[in-house]
Amino acid sequence: MSTINDFSGYNPTWCPGCGNWGIGVAIKQALVQLNLSPSKVGVVFGIGCSGNMNDFLNAYAIHSLHGRAIPNAIGIKLANHKMPVVAIVGDGDCYGEGGNHLIHACRGNHDITVIVHDNGVYGLTTGQVAPTALKGFKSKSTPSGIIEIPINPLSLAIGSGATFVAQSFAGDVNHAIAMIKAGIEHKGFSLINILQPCVTFNKINTYQYYLQKVYKLPLNYKKDNFKTAVEKSLEMNEEKFPLGIVYETDKPSYTDQLPQLEKKTLVEKERFSDFEKLMIDFI
């Protein structure tokens, strides 16, 4: 059995009160509860305050480039599809810089779990607007308020083919643990959007704001219905934030559909050696 301690690296340097503290604890707790150890899990961190968890969480990890955690995670999964792979990213990272990768990872149903710290701002670069910010959000880079409307991460993912889409709130660690566990256990692409107050740069989407606007999906909510899931997602546009598994369906993952990987992972396979088979093409 592993413990929280096994996963704990350096002490976090996040601002006091930052939502990342809750998410950090939730991730470690989820890994412990899943009976994983630091040597049994692959983690890719994006670049941002969120990605700075690299030094606070023990695992086989890549601290990647801004926006590129998802393809790195896909690569790890292709190489060793038996290992759980998690990407820990910011909303700027995942919905802005790396938005294209998100869409295609959904389409491919790559069996990775993407945990997005949705704080509406670019924390690490000191508070410019993120693609999730509400229209009109004033930031250093949008002093008159942002012109664009926010991305809707949930409907974007559902519409792109993600087979697990959940939302959680950094202020409710137990809920976040449950979502992260379910996401990692889900076979196929999972997105967990975690609403994360940034106490330093986002004075709009505060703990109080979210406490008023979030609600938990009822127990009888049918998460496998595509249409209702899209409808639920769209509530975010009216500043209502459903918490829970908004959508889950069972489909073969990308690696499930590669006959090459049926028996062994790519990394443990024997070397190919029947070169005659290839050379006949050239005679």
Partner: protein
């Protein structure tokens, strides 16, 4: 004996396939070939041409003179007639366009034959091949056998239907043009040869090196590596991912390589430009990666289906920040097989990105390669994964948390630290994009920063001592009147042109580089220490290798032969430069 056969016609009607078939016919008849395709960046409506240089001896270049020109349309004749002589043979259909004087002509009524035998337009090609074999004095059975193989799954009827077009073309010439028949393709004994492009060679070299993941986004002239390896997935169990863009391509490969799988990516200049941030990531995280860059004329979209050596300096300097990388540029198909396989070993041994450069000429031209050469290479090649930690789980089981901190970036004399394959029990580490301590944690302190920069840089010193290869010298520099300096795919034409010079009693030498970067200054200076007429030969307008050589060694080559119209350099152009 050597000759050039060329066929041209409208794009979309099988010219490419026909050209390759001719190359295979010549190879199976016992000859060496080197071929070259010309096509615009469209699928239909443009002009396609394919030429094959056939020789009794090994060949790696094109000749200016075309001995046999097969014109499936008038444009072929108009576009290429400047390369004909009065001895050249032109095969064409009188019913389609006007009489051509000044050359020896063979009229094949393609149109009439097609309508009589109810053939489809592409079958013109089969007629043309039959006629070509006849006029060259070749054996029609070689073509008939190929048709049998091609249509083996479609049954006897289809096979025979196709064969008749070959026979009709063949007999047209045999019956009506006896006096024009040459003996250029009479069957000769020779060992088994493979007809391969540079892209085929990169693909095969990757398989030999145990590459297990290839990721790419299509881009001419690198695309056929993607399609070839994709088509081999069932045979070899390699995984091929066609990702959403080149940024995803290289980051997927980085992830897989981190997880212990030999991985590579391939693209041309534009796609490589998108990858460059991650080249830098591979540099600092010390994740092995092989990157195939097949050049075409830029800037931007440039001339997608033509050739140029315009990205050498870009490749050498790719990636922000200072980190070591290795750049190789094979000169021909054999070197492509060897250096590709070597690139995977170098990437693993030195834990850095290794760029293998090609260009449209090398990537898409076929050349005959002795099968024995490939067999011997496969037998000799050893996969070297470099320093991979073999720490057993038990070592960690009792260790304290501190000891579990694996020193992935441990400071070493040779600059190389042990790697740990993820999922090795009892330990973990992070491959960190930020500057880091020996154990991978982020740092911004001065001392560890300097230590890591120096450690990474030492990998270059180790490489120069252990694996760098000096340029190969063709000919004798001491006796030479003129010394050509070239790199990558221009090797073929320069070496060929040396033979022509020799016939004119002019001795020359060629210094050909394929280990492009880093360069060993002192050793290279030793090669350039003679007072000679040095001429730099490059398929670009800047003389990029000349600049690199100057930058790295202080050697400056003033005289240059540069070609940058998208076409490969021809032997005659070098000869003309000398006179």
């Amino acid at each position: 004996m050597s000759f050039t056969w060329k066929i041209g016609g409208e794009a979309g009607f099988g010219i490419m396939t026909t050209g390759l078939l001719f190359s295979k016919i010549a190879s199976r008849s016992g000859y060496h070939i080197f071929d070259y395709v010309e096509y615009p960046s469209l699928i239909r409506g443009g002009h396609n041409a394919y030429e094959v240089h056939v020789s009794e001896n090994e060949t790696t270049h094109l000749n200016k003179t075309i001995e046999i020109l097969v014109c499936l349309n008038k444009e072929t004749f108009e576009k290429h007639k400047f390369r004909l002589t009065s001895e050249s043979l032109v095969i064409y259909d009188k019913d389609e366009f006007g009489i051509i004087s000044d050359y020896k002509t063979i009229n094949i009524p393609f149109k009439k034959i097609l309508s009589e035998l109810k053939g489809q337009p592409v079958m013109k090609n089969t007629i043309a091949l039959g006629a070509s074999i006849a006029v060259l004095g070749g054996d029609i059975d070689v073509l008939l056998k190929i048709i049998e193989e091609q249509f083996s799954k479609k049954g006897e009827e289809i096979i025979n239907f196709n064969k008749q077009f070959a026979n009709v073309g063949f007999n047209q010439v045999k019956n009506n043009y006896k006096t024009l028949i040459l003996n250029y393709l009479t069957k000769r004994k020779s060992d088994v040869k493979l007809v391969m492009t540079g892209n085929d060679a990169f693909s095969l070299g990757s398989m030999i090196a145990d590459c297990r993941l290839y990721v790419a986004y299509p881009m001419t002239p690198a695309s056929s590596v993607l399609t070839t390896l994709a088509s081999w997935q069932k045979k070899t169990n390699i995984v091929v991912r066609h990702a959403e863009d080149e940024i995803s391509v290289i980051n997927t490969a980085i992830g897989a390589s981190f997880a212990g799988v030999r991985s590579s990516v391939g693209t041309s200049g534009g796609g490589f430009a998108l990858m460059v941030e991650t080249v830098s990531l591979a540099g600092v995280t010390e994740i092995p990666l092989v990157i195939f860059v097949s050049q075409r004329p830029g800037p931007a979209t440039g001339m997608p289906t033509w050739t140029e050596q315009g990205d050498l300096l870009f490749a050498v300097h790719s990636g922000h920040g200072e980190f070591p990388k290795i750049v190789l540029a094979p000169g021909d198909i054999e070197e492509m097989i060897e250096l590709t396989a070597k690139a995977y070993n170098l990437a693993d041994i030195y834990q850095l990105p290794v760029i293998v450069m090609s260009d449209m000429l090398l990537s898409e031209s076929h050349k005959t390669v002795s099968k024995k050469f490939v067999d011997d290479f496969i037998a000799e090649y050893k996969v070297n994964r470099g320093k991979i930690s073999n720490i057993k789980a038990s070592t960690f089981a009792k260790a304290s948390v501190d000891e579990q901190n694996f020193l992935r970036y441990k400071i070493t004399e040779d600059g190389i630290s042990e790697r740990l394959i993820p999922e090795t029990p009892g330990s973990f580490y992070q491959a960190n994009s930020y500057e880091h301590l020996e154990d991978g944690h982020t740092t911004e302190e001065s001392a560890p920063r300097i230590a890591q920069v120096d450690k990474r840089a030492r990998k270059w010193q180790t490489y120069l001592k252990s694996d760098f290869q000096l340029p190969k010298i063709y000919g004798d520099i001491d006796k030479a009147d003129v010394v050509f300096v070239c790199w990558g795919s221009t090797k073929g034409v320069v070496v060929e042109e040396q033979k022509i010079l020799l016939k004119k009693d002019k001795a020359s030498a060629c210094i050909h580089f394929n280990h492009m970067y880093p360069l060993d200054k002192e050793k290279i200076k030793g090669i350039f220490n003679k007072k000679k007429r040095y001429i730099l030969v490059e398929n670009n307008s800047w003389g990029q290798f000349g600049k690199l050589l100057l930058q790295e060694t202080g050697i400056e080559i003033k005289e240059k032969l540069l070609k940058y119209d998208g076409r490969p350099i021809m032997a005659e152009e070098i000869i003309n430069k000398l006179t």
